[in-house]
Amino acid sequence: MNPYVVPGLILVVLVTVGIGAYGLRFARTTSDFLVASRSVSPTWNAAAISGEYLSAASFLGVAGLILRYGVDVLWYPVGFAAGYLALLLFVAAPLRRSGAFTLPDFCQVRLRSPVLRRLATVFVVFIGCLYLVPQLQGAGLTFTTVTGGRYEWGALLVGLVVTANVALGGMRAITFVQAFQYWLKLTALAVPVIFLALQWQSDGRPAVTPPAGPVFSATTTVTFAEAATLTLPDGSQSRVAEGEERTFAAGAAVPEVSSVDDRRGADWLLPGGDTTLFATYSLILATFLGTMGLPHVLVRFYTNPDGASARRTTLVVLGLVGLFYLLPTLYGVLGRVYTPQLLMTGRTDAVVLLLPEAALGGGHLGQFLGALVTAGALAAFLSTSSGLLTSVAGVVFTDILHADRGGSVRDFRLATVLAAIVPMALSVYVADMDVSRVVGLAFAVAASSFCPLLVLGIWWRGLTDVGAVAGILAGGGAAMVAVLITVLGPPLSGWPAQLIGQPAAWTVPLAFVVMVTGSLVSKRRVPRDVGATMLRLHAPESLRL
């Protein structure tokens, strides 16, 4: 095992706790915390938002998807970044001016409907849990890759650590901690990639897509988790049994494995391939419009002093997130050269963790950079899952356990544990799904429920509570069912698989249409104070009305 990994992980945890403790000296009560947050510049705030947003799916999953499927999945990082543009154009400033802290709060402010508030709570909990699953998956995967232990132990271990942290208030969502995590994640990918590129140069620039298919760059032993058929480029086939080991010499062709779905040659390099236009556009809709509906993203906007600075913060986030997403692509591409065995085992999500040592050798440099990316991965799932769990537990606490009737610390801890159990169980169950795929599903649900609610609520006076409830039930409900079928149901094929596996292309328009129709039908229920609300959402604070 790499001797730098454990000290690296301990260092990350110590620095995180250290910055947190330092920040706590200045923030003892809720109001202190808010005041302190409001003196924070848009740059710091934006780094904090980015730190919380860049999860295991971004850090590990995107590179893994690119290694496996090629150019078509570049829409994931583009969409993850573009989501902030949609947030900037349609939501950022008015949402900050509304004074809403969570999505259920926004329902209350805009439509004054307790029913809608409860429905929004259900969706926040569902999306939050769904988004937590891939974080724990990433943790399990990292644990397996680094220590060789069982996947389940890693997922459960990190799940327990995060739950304990949030429940005991050990790691609070302090701006400086999250901002530190952003720069750590960026460094952890950016520094190794410089050495990887230099190594690729000095190896004589081996082709990423050799004409005869990928080849092993070094002698490699592959262990097969399940029985499969191997097909070599010349068409010859052989069978391997479960648990069998095979050793391939350097320069040997990488066989295709029947149990792993991946792409080779032109399918990988060129757009189109097996991906239909429907699936691509569905993914684009889900990621572009889903970001604004993620529970842990909205909470952070409250820390901006006013609407104009909320806008500037979002712009900086767009820059920081875009900068980060330049890097995973390079890992995915270089993974084709240095870690092609992942195409045979299907554990492509591990490419970021394995690439430094595979390309630079087991010397001190390779081991050190390997430890750096592992530390970055730890930062990724710690920051995102703590932020998510805090916001989900907060909603469970106020809206489900009815804390307004005298909530206690014990109730908040109970809420945290409740919010953590389901994702932990699910993460063990869906172990073999791609991390970024599961995240894509969470985006689809957010885009078909909260995106129409926010956009119509902010820009259209005619929205009513009846229309909003109907739209969320129709669009969000349909997306929710599709997700449940994908995760828990039997494998599908053909058109049903497309419609269910990437539902956003039909559930988002459905939600908008139902919400508008429902509001037009129930015109008499438009809140009487809608004019005052609109004034509050859109007028600049400098008027001091």
Binding site: W75, L85, G169, P271, G272, G322, H538, A539, R544
Partner: protein
Amino acid sequence: MDDVRNGAPVRRTRVVLGEAAARRPAPDPARADLAEQTPVGEALVKGLVRAQLALALRLSLVVVTGLGALPLLFAVAPAVGHAKLLGVNLPWLLLGLLSFPFLLGVGWAYVRWAERNEQDFTAVITRPEG
């Protein structure tokens, strides 16, 4: 939440922004129109909302044509996928590298113009005769 989590309940203090309130300028007609929801005020707010929405929609149209049309383009004209620039296939460059500065540029333009809309609105309210 934090108030109770620390154990002892935190005493609430009322903060009065006395000086800020005292320095507030004398109410002018347009400001009163806004605050009291008169038809004139309503029309002013509607104008602002419409201007901001039109700006957001125009810029999303830029993104839809700039980025959203790419999958269709790749499907209709596969030759674009084969084209190479600096040894890299064009779709990789467009999506993996150039899309991010493009998004940032659109965002930057939006922030500029949205703030200008708000300044125009403030100017109308504070100097109705000008």
